[in-house]
Symmetry: C2
Subunit: 174 residues, 2 copies
């Protein structure tokens, strides 16, 4: 009986740690995005930075592109194609003028990350995603998939223009 209690305690403690870690690192969704069957990778918010950008188009966002270790290693070593297991995350936030920063600078010059727009992932699996250059694509908002099949099927045709860089647009910022 005592042993079972210990075991139960251990399971509960471990679960708490997992949930805490998942929460702290901003992910752990269990629902997969359609088409490519991709879930939000655990810990992606802790990944290393590849680069930053401002897309002034429909999204009008400030974005950070992060990579798991396979992605970062490949970028830094200049290795193409990216190895299977590579995941690249694109985090986009609303592009907003910062009133508090502008006040300090004395002019309107500061644009910062506002509310999150969505998160996109590119997952490399040259077997599973052979039909799309070895890449699967997914998009999430508030922890849930928020792009339907039609949208996700549009990813690869667009990325094809970066074929000489293994279909990845973002370059590493030193």
């Amino acid at each position: 009986m005592k042993r079972i209690a210990y075991l139960l305690f251990a399971v509960v403690a471990l679960t708490s740690v997992i949930v805490y870690v998942a929460h702290a690192t901003g992910d752990a969704d269990v629902k997969a995005a359609p088409t490519f069957d991709i879930k939000i990778p655990l810990g992606y918010r802790d990944w290393k930075l590849i680069s930053v950008a401002h897309e002034a188009g429909n999204n009008n966002d400030l974005r950070a592109v992060l990579g798991n270790d396979a992605a970062i290693d490949a970028y830094r070593e200049g290795k193409l194609p990216f190895p299977d297991g590579t995941i690249i995350a694109r985090l986009a936030w609303s592009y907003i003028s910062s009133a508090e920063n502008n006040k300090v600078f004395g002019r309107d010059q500061s644009f910062v990350a506002g509310p999150p727009i969505n998160i996109q992932f590119m997952v490399k699996d040259s077997t599973k995603y052979a039909a799309t250059g070895g890449w699967g694509f997914a998009q999430f908002k508030d922890g849930k998939p928020n792009a339907d099949e039609a949208v996700l099927k549009g990813c690869f045709p667009c990325h094809e223009s970066a074929k000489d860089r293994d279909f990845v647009f973002t370059r590493y910022a030193p």
Copy 2:
């Protein structure tokens, strides 16, 4: 003799690893910036992301703000003031229009990180930097300090306006 050879080999191998790691993570400068006596922290390029911004002022940059573990933990837990040992890194790159991305989008909407401008650090040490809110400030370009005492002495008076957030402007982007 054989033992000494082994030892030498081990030292050389270890040194190579250290140099490789330092190189791969983009740092290991030995010269400290003036005024606050701050060196480039080892491994800063691998730190987790706090947020991103576009400063359209004199720098006209895209910037990423990264933090060491103490910084990230404090941000995520909403803890103020930041604990001693906190280091916040601001990496700035030229804000450039991306011809290759715009071609894909069919319009001029994409701005990306161009050549690096400089890197700034805020280092928390409430004893050493008691006169400046507990923060030391430094700036580097191409691995070398590139701001003189007059410039660095201007950091704190500006950051004083963010006193209610422990003198840190950047907010965490979820």
